[in-house]
């Protein structure tokens, strides 16, 4: 029977063992993780790495890329007014829809959690419906049709508020608000579902313990018990929201939209990639978007840690 000291020694040795040995030891685990890991590497990690490499080159897809150092980044940050417009638009959009949509999704999930299970299932389906049927957004196209027979125009004209139809999607004053409204309407997506699941996974005994410890109202219960115990779901929802709102691409206003009012980073990227065939430059945009998303993620993680304290 090995002594305690020996065991300790073995543990110490293990630390020094090469990765290959560890893999061999845990081969079952690696075996199970392998299919996903391989696919993930090929279709996600590799493209990201390649794209970062391309961002330092001039690459028109037909000729071999040539290395041009930081030129793409310099042009992007200092010479490209349109890029700045797109960054501004993206941030305006993200700030309006991200936190707001996130909060709406959470609040709705919280409210729904109080309802009896049967009714809850139905209501969840109702709220989640827009996310399932991706094309449901087309009804907004009917509502904000520029024709005098579009719903919004029709009703406003019927009430005598306007005399002439408004070209909603071609008028700079209306484009952004409408896009934001439509985005908020569709914000009850996968994040919302995970919130519902998180709320249901909360341990009931914690609430009792908290009550004994002196929780006074529902808000305190939410802050000190519910939210901390569903941090993973909150993080998941946040990642989805961030990538969703920063990565916004095509909208109802079309591409590039009138006077670039709804021109987002994603559009700028695809404009360079598919219209101008400047892949290097497009990769630089992608890299910057990637960095922005990582930073947002970090910030959010920090914010989450503050919950319950």
């Amino acid at each position: 029977m090995p002594s305690l000291a020996l065991k300790r020694k073995a543990a110490k040795n293990e630390k020094k063992k090469p990765a290959a040995y560890l893999i061999k030891q845990n081969k079952v685990a690696y075996f199970f993780v392998a299919p996903y890991f391989i696919l993930f590497s090929i279709f996600t990690i590799l493209p990201v790495v390649i794209s970062i490499l391309f961002s330092f080159t001039y690459f028109n897809m037909l000729e071999w890329p040539t290395f041009i150092g930081l030129d793409n980044y310099i042009n992007l940050l200092f010479n490209d007014d349109l890029f700045l417009t797109s960054v501004k638009n993206t941030f305006v959009y993200a700030v309006l829809t991200g936190p707001l949509g996130y909060m709406i999704a959470f609040l709705v999930a919280w409210f729904i959690n109080e309802i009896t299970p049967k009714l809850r299932a139905i209501i969840i389906l109702l709220f989640y419906a827009p996310a399932i049927s991706g094309n449901a957004a087309f009804i907004w196209g009917l509502i904000f049709s520029s024709d005098s027979y579009g719903f919004a125009n029709g009703i406003l004209m019927y009430w005598g508020i306007i005399d002439e139809p408004i070209t909603w999607m071609q008028n700079t004053s209306y484009i952004m608000p409408i896009i934001v409204i439509v985005a908020l309407w569709g914000s009850l997506g996968t994040g919302f579902l995970s919130f519902v699941a998180g709320l249901q996974g909360c341990d009931r005994s914690l609430y009792e313990a908290a009550a004994v410890d002196g929780i006074k109202n529902r808000w305190q219960e939410l802050w000190y018990v519910t939210l901390p115990s569903m941090k993973p779901q909150l993080m998941f929802g946040a990642v989805l929201t961030i990538s969703g709102s920063l990565g916004i691409g095509a909208t109802m206003a079309g591409n590039p939209s009138v006077e670039y009012t709804a021109y987002f980073m994603q559009m700028h990227l695809s404009s360079y990639a598919t219209e101008r065939y400047e892949m290097g430059y497009a990769s630089a945009i992608a890299t910057i978007m990637f960095l922005i998303m990582i930073i947002c993620n970090k910030l959010f993680r920090k914010a989450l840690q503050k919950i319950g304290s």
């Binding site: 019927y158 070209t167 219209e275």
Partner: protein
């Protein structure tokens, strides 16, 4: 003072125009026209409708004597090609009409009364569309519908159904056949059946004026109107002659997809893969096994089948295996002819009920079969689509629709399309007849609704649409002061009632086969069982792993092979493949692998799988500058190919002396106008923009509007102004955009003014507004013509097209320039490496050539019908499209004014900045000059940047 005079002048115009509308126009105008001497060229809508004509001569004598006139014995003519005495083994006197002019016959009617007219004719090759004539009796159109007499061509499948290399069936080519054929002059919409013409005793003339297509007329016969006998009489007649129902004969099964003769090339064989119980069947391969599937959908289409070996004379039972899955809530009707005649009354309307599955229907009344008498040996059966019992319904609703449309226009003249809800328009006092009309029409629609429920045995989408209309009409009838609130809803309901009318006339039905058998023979089960269906689905699924459905007609591997990609639809690709197999490959020995692909050419080149010819390339110049496309001017005979096109058509695919693509289709705008409405308002069709400016206030006062698209990328409204004023998009060496020039600024100002000052709608549904009459003038792509023909049958004959309004130049001439947009077919540069360059060029040249283009266009139209008409930009091919002579002349003239927009590196920037400028002017009232100067700078920056990238000379101040 001046303002006052203007106002009173305007008022006068308004009063005049509304006076026209308030008077009941149709009836009185028609009556007046009837009395007055009408010239043959008089407009169609001044004649009375056939309904009125019928009423007028309702009680007339039907006991008349037959009159026959020979084709060659005309007394007046124009545009006659030849008089023949012998044709196809027959002697007589035949007249060959060209695609213009007329022939007129003088004849003597022995008795006053009503006559049917039968024409014996022989078709001549033309542009392969239906032949159309106007019939004048004694120098005038007897009724409106006589202006639109359609005479069908005769079609056959050129071959039996053959299989391609990959085992799929290939649709046989549809070809015309020529033979003597007789036709009753009848209503094309099938509302009335055969027309009955009234002739008084004495000498008359009848004139056949050509609308389109040549024709040989062999005989004109005026015959007494005869009633078809009932089934009972029919049966008794033959039983009294000793014939009996046959017994113990082998059933004869006839496949519906292969008729021996048909009235339209659209009736080509189709495939149904939804069930295994279909003939012929194959689990994995395409089999052409049915007729219909959307093609047998207009009235008066027919297919004729030869039944070769009828074993003995006697009565036979006919069983059809059909599926009618398009019209839920109504029955689709067919007329059955045996040996050229409808045997009995009941065969005039054989109804097929709705079902999503195939079923057997015995010709009969549901309980007892109606047996038909067939002679031993050869017999023919013709199946013709018709409205049947629906004819009356459709006719009535059509009438109601046009009366309500009139009423709508009357209301809108007073209230506008968006009335003020707080104002009392006193519609009840001003338009009492409209209020009453609403009540009457509601009751009439209610009657029709009940009739429909009766026929189908259930409520359906057809009845629910009527219900909406009925509810609104009764509401407006009971509360006339509320009419103003309903104007918009009325418009919507009228539009959907219009769609209703054209929907209900869609009489599609799919037939697998029919069986001629003895009365006791059982027909095979029409549907498949569960196991058979499961097996079928499984085989289908497995087949998706090894069948390449995107390549058309199999893959050739030996010999000279080129690969061609097309981004068009499957129908187009199949036609192309058939043409390749029957013409291109036999003539050149080059095999073609044809694939449907939506992969962009850049992606294909990068991955090394680029085709040798690519149809429908976008952004040609910007791709070519990266060396992706081969410069076609390198080919020796390029100039010959270029000469087939208007010079400007090659410009968008050319850059600095090189041409990278050949266009096949081209679109440009013309102006559509509603002749009836303009006539009503006393307006002429505008020829110049000055005319338009004069007309706009009048239209506006009548709450109508002028339609012109604001889309700068697809429509050419700005380009039209720019080109008419002599402007250009770029400078001469295409190094900078020219939107900051005086001409461009002026053009932008003029164009945007139409929207900001004259209130043209920025966005609209052109088809519906043109149909409703709200938009009597509309500038649109000329292919809208086909859509309107199909989509808006109600206004047939009431509209036309003309050149777009022009700009008067200093020398007094008028410039009608429009923008021409063309597609592009290219040879990727990889073909040079593959050594397929010459073959690719041979193929491209073959397809762009007039003959191939014309054939392609015909086959496409045969397949898809009139709405699928091809728009070639090859000049000779355009001349051979099935447009009428006058339509073609107009197109040709407008095309001669058309100019394309060049493409340069960075040209994708243009449209977005043009659009930005336009929106800023219209939405924010900004100054055109400043905007254009700023935006041109941005565009030029991009052009310069791109030119630098390609190491081209850049523009310098």
């Amino acid at each position: 003072m001046k303002k006052n005079r203007l106002t009173s002048a305007l008022l006068a115009i308004i009063m005049l125009s509304s006076a026209f509308f308030t008077a009941a126009p149709a009836a009185s105008a028609a009556e007046a026209a009837d009395e007055a001497e009408v010239k043959p060229a008089a407009s169609v809508f001044s004649a009375m409708s056939y309904l009125k004509y019928q009423e007028k001569y309702a009680g007339e004598n039907k006991d008349v004597e037959e009159i026959t006139v020979n084709g060659g014995d005309y007394t007046a003519s124009e545009g006659v090609d030849a008089v023949l005495t012998e044709l196809d083994g027959k002697t007589g006197s035949f007249v060959q009409q060209s695609n213009e002019g007329y022939v007129e016959y003088t004849f003597n009617a022995a008795k006053t009364g009503l006559y049917n007219i039968i024409m014996e004719y022989y078709t001549v090759e033309g542009n392969a569309t239906d032949i159309e004539r106007k019939i004048y009796i004694d120098g005038k159109l007897p009724f409106t519908e006589a202006g639109n007499i359609v005479i069908p061509r005769l079609w056959i499948n050129q071959t039996t159904i053959q299989q391609a290399a990959n085992g799929d069936d290939e649709t046989p080519k549809q070809v015309e056949t020529h033979r003597f054929e007789t036709v009753y002059l009848r209503d094309d919409a099938d509302f009335y059946g055969n027309f009955e013409f009234y002739l008084s005793e004495g000498t008359h003339t009848v004139r056949f004026e050509t609308v389109k297509e040549p024709l040989i007329i062999s005989k004109i016969m005026f015959v007494p109107v005869e009633e078809t006998v009932s089934y009972e009489e029919y049966y008794n007649k033959y039983t009294s002659e000793g014939y009996k129902a046959v017994e113990n004969v082998e059933p004869i099964k006839i496949q519906a997809e292969t008729p021996d003769l048909k009235s339209s090339a659209v009736l080509s064989p189709d495939y149904d893969r939804s069930t295994p119980n279909i003939e012929p069947y194959d689990g994995a391969k395409l089999r052409l096994n049915v007729l219909g599937e959307g093609s047998f959908s207009s009235v008066n289409m027919w297919t004729e089948y030869l039944i070769k070996d009828v074993p003995e004379s006697g009565f036979y039972k006919i069983t059809f295996k059909v599926k009618q899955n398009t019209a839920r809530g109504i029955n689709v009707s067919r007329r059955i002819y045996i040996n050229g005649e409808i045997p009995f009354k009941e065969a005039e309307n054989v109804e097929f009920k709705y079902s999503t599955k195939y079923y057997n229907q015995v010709l009969g009344n549901g309980e007892t079969p109606y047996l038909v008498y067939l002679e031993k040996g050869e017999n023919t059966i013709r199946i013709e689509s018709c409205l049947g019992a629906l004819a009356e319904v459709v006719r009535n609703v059509d009438d109601i629709l046009s009366s309500l449309n009139d009423a709508y226009r009357k209301i809108v003249v007073i209230t506008g399309t968006s009335p003020d809800v707080y104002r009392d328009y006193e519609l009840q006092e001003k338009l009492p007849e409209v209020v009453e009309l609403f009540g009457n029409q509601a009751a009439e629609l209610e009657r029709i609704r009940e009739l429909l429920i009766d026929v189908a045995g259930e409520k359906s989408q057809y009845t629910s649409q009527l219900e909406t209309m009925i509810r609104q009409l009764s509401r407006m009838n009971q509360k006339p002061h509320m009419i103003q609130d309903e104007v918009k809803a009325l418009y919507d309901n009228l539009a959907s009632l219009g769609t209703w009318v054209s929907d209900i006339q869609t009489v599609d039905m799919t037939m697998d086969y029919f069986i001629v058998s003895s009365v006791d023979a059982e027909a095979p089960k029409p549907t498949a069982g569960f196991l058979a269906t499961a097996k079928h689905e499984f085989i289908n699924f497995v087949a998706t792993f090894y069948n390449d459905y995107s390549s058309i007609g199999g893959v050739a591997e030996t010999g000279d092979v080129i690969t061609v990609w097309t981004s068009g639809g499957r129908d187009q690709a199949e036609v192309l493949k058939r043409m390749i197999n029957s013409e291109f490959t036999p003539a050149t020995g080059i095999n073609v692998n044809l694939k449907i692909s939506s992969v962009s050419i850049i992606n294909a080149l990068v991955s090394g799988i680029a085709p040798d010819v690519y149809f429908g390339c976008a952004d040609t110049v910007n791709i070519a500058l990266r060396g992706a496309l081969y410069d076609l001017t390198q080919f020796e005979d390029f100039d010959e190919v270029a000469s087939w096109y208007p010079e400007t058509a090659l410009v968008p695919n050319s850059f600095e002396g090189a041409t990278y693509g050949i266009p096949t289709t081209g679109a440009f705008e013309v102006m559509f106008y509603r002749a009836d409405i303009l006539e009503g308002l006393g307006l002429d069709v505008p020829k110049t923009w000055d005319d338009v400016y004069e007309i706009l206030p009048v239209l506006e006062r009548n709450n109508m509007t002028f339609g012109m698209s604001t889309d700068v990328s697809t429509a050419g409204s700005y380009a039209m102004y720019l080109y008419q004023n002599g402007g250009t998009y770029y400078n001469e060496d295409s190094t900078r955009a020219m939107f900051d020039s005086e001409i461009s600024i002026k053009a932008m100002e003029q164009w945007s003014e139409l929207y900001s000052n004259y209130g043209l709608p920025l966005s609209f549904d052109a088809k519906n507004r043109f149909r409703s009459g709200e938009m009597p003038l509309l500038i649109s792509d000329y292919t809208l013509f086909n859509t309107l023909t199909i989509f808006a049958p109600q206004i047939r004959g009431l509209w036309d097209w003309t050149l777009v309004p022009g700009t008067v130049k200093e020398d007094g001439t008028v410039d009608h320039s429009v923008m021409l947009s063309v597609n592009s077919n290219v040879i990727p540069s990889s073909a040079e490496k593959n050594g397929t360059l010459e073959n690719a060029w041979t193929f491209l040249k073959w397809f762009c050539d007039t003959d191939a283009q014309v054939e392609f266009a015909r086959e496409i139209e045969n397949l898809l019908g009139e709405s699928g008409r091809y728009n070639p930009v090859n000049l000779d091919a355009l001349a051979k499209m099935p447009w009428s002579t006058s339509q073609y002349k107009l197109l040709k003239e407008q095309l001669s004014w058309a100019q394309t927009v060049p493409q340069v590196p960075g040209s994708y920037y243009l449209n977005r900045y043009l659009d930005n400028s336009f929106r800023a002017i219209v939405n924010q009232g900004k100054e055109a000059r400043e905007l254009l100067i700023d935006n041109t700078k941005e565009i030029n920056k991009e052009i310069t940047r791109k030119r630098k990238e390609f190491k081209l000379t850049v523009y310098e101040e």
